[in-house]
């Protein structure tokens, strides 16, 4: 079976001459999860933007479900690094936006996202504006918006980086359970080694800018909540830390 997400020698040079990534190749199979880890500024966000159809790579091809990405894929949800929320929309309006854009009536869309907001601990904040929320709450709203459209592919740019330790683990567990239930394909950018090991069945380590693939680490044990407490988890973390340190 063809991989759902595939990068073929992707390269990106910004118009101002900044070379963000170079010759990046990797792939993710249907229903699998892949974590991308690399130092700050190495082009992780750039890579995700390419797969979201928001940027065209200057070299190589990005494929989703075997087709070159030329527009935002309909069955993929993107969670942005700085939340990507709209300051002029309330929490519930932000969360329901993906559904609305897919043609669901505003009222139904809001009804549909209510349980998701509850699950993410945002009940009671439906009519707040993002500015009125702390950073972590904003990130959770962004997460709610992505989940609302029940995506088959999730592209995530450091989705938990603004969350406190407890909420983060809770949300990681929540995401993992969701993934095991829905079996959507996940591409997750992170700079937390623990997060990469906990959530990524495959871990792609990028070098400093321009980002290149240093190593692809297979991590078949990922995919259960208990993995976090096992010795193998710490083992894997150490392995990834070594690769990251080598960049």
């Amino acid at each position: 079976m063809a991989p759902v997400i595939e990068a073929r020698k992707l390269g990106m040079v910004y118009p101002d001459g900044t070379r963000a990534i170079e010759g990046v190749s990797f792939s993710v199979e249907e229903g699998e999860s892949c974590a991308i880890i690399g130092p700050s500024g190495c082009g992780k966000t750039t890579l995700l933007f390419i797969f979201s159809g928001l940027l065209r790579p200057t070299e190589g091809i990005a494929l989703i479900e075997g087709k070159e990405v030329v527009a935002p894929p309909k069955n993929a949800a993107l969670i942005l690094q700085n939340y990507g929320l709209f300051p002029w929309k309330t929490v519930i309006e932000n969360a329901a936006l993906g559904l609305e854009i897919r043609g669901v009536k505003a009222r139904d869309a809001r009804k549909a996202v209510k349980p998701i907001l509850r699950e993410l601990g945002l009940e009671g904040f439906e009519n707040h504006y993002p500015k009125q929320l702390s950073g972590g709450m904003q990130q959770r709203v962004a997460f709610a918006r992505a989940l609302a459209i029940k995506p088959r592919i999730m592209l995530m740019d450091e989705p938990f980086s603004s969350l406190d330790a407890l909420s983060r683990e809770k949300l990681q567990n929540f995401l993992l359970e969701l993934w095991m239930k829905e079996r959507m394909t996940m591409l997750l950018v992170t700079h937390s080694i623990e997060e990469a090991v906990f959530l990524g069945k495959r871990i792609v380590v990028l070098s400093h800018r321009p980002g290149r693939v240093v190593k692809v680490i297979e991590n078949p044990m990922a995919g259960s909540v208990e993995f976090r407490n096992r010795g193998e988890f710490f083992e894997k973390c150490r392995e990834v830390r070594r690769s990251v340190g080598a960049t």
Binding site: L78, N82, G84, P87
Partner: protein, 246 residues
Amino acid sequence: MPGSEEKRWGYVVAGAVLFIIWHVLAYFVKSPALPYPSTVFAAFIAQLGEGLAIHMAISACRAIYSILLALSLAIPIGLLCHERKIDRFIAPFLYLLYPIPHIVLLPLIILLFGIGDVSKVILIGMIVFFQILVTTRDAARNIDEYYVYSLLSLGADKKDIYRHVVFPACLPKILTALRISVGTAIAVLFFAESFATTTGLGYLIMTAWSRADYVSLYAGIVAMALLGFSLYMALEVIERRLCRWV
């Protein structure tokens, strides 16, 4: 902004301060061209019953129609300038046409649209149009691309971008532009109502001016200030409803 007790006090104080400055100035200038405020307000109140109120209402209608006309054209065009391609096409027209004193085109407007209310509304509307367009365009061009990316990733098409990003992001600036436009529209009334009409505050002021009746002139100015102030207040209410997130 109105409604709060404190704000209302601000207006009372400002009104009183202006009244005193005016009075002192009138005392020192000692010229019929600057009557005492007490005289003017007395005349204003007296004239309210004698038709000034109707003139105000007519002027208000003309100003509001003009602004609506200008808005209905300037906002879509301005928002479209969010797209670099369209902006590159529209901007030169704007830059070439905006700095013309549009009042000078009055003969052309009369030629094309006659001397009725349509001409008046078009004259005011044209001037206000450019002010709103310049501001809306500036706002539309300076939207953080991040928001667009965020929406595009949700599968949005162009229409959605305008609806969910470009329009709301520009709204506060459009409202600022509207505030400026209210002042302009009322100032232009003064010219628009100088032909083919015997109604409106512009007519009143022009008439008073031409017979050097400065008390009526200032009474008309007070009426205009009051009209502008009311429209301002209306805008504030609209802004508080539409831009709660700011």
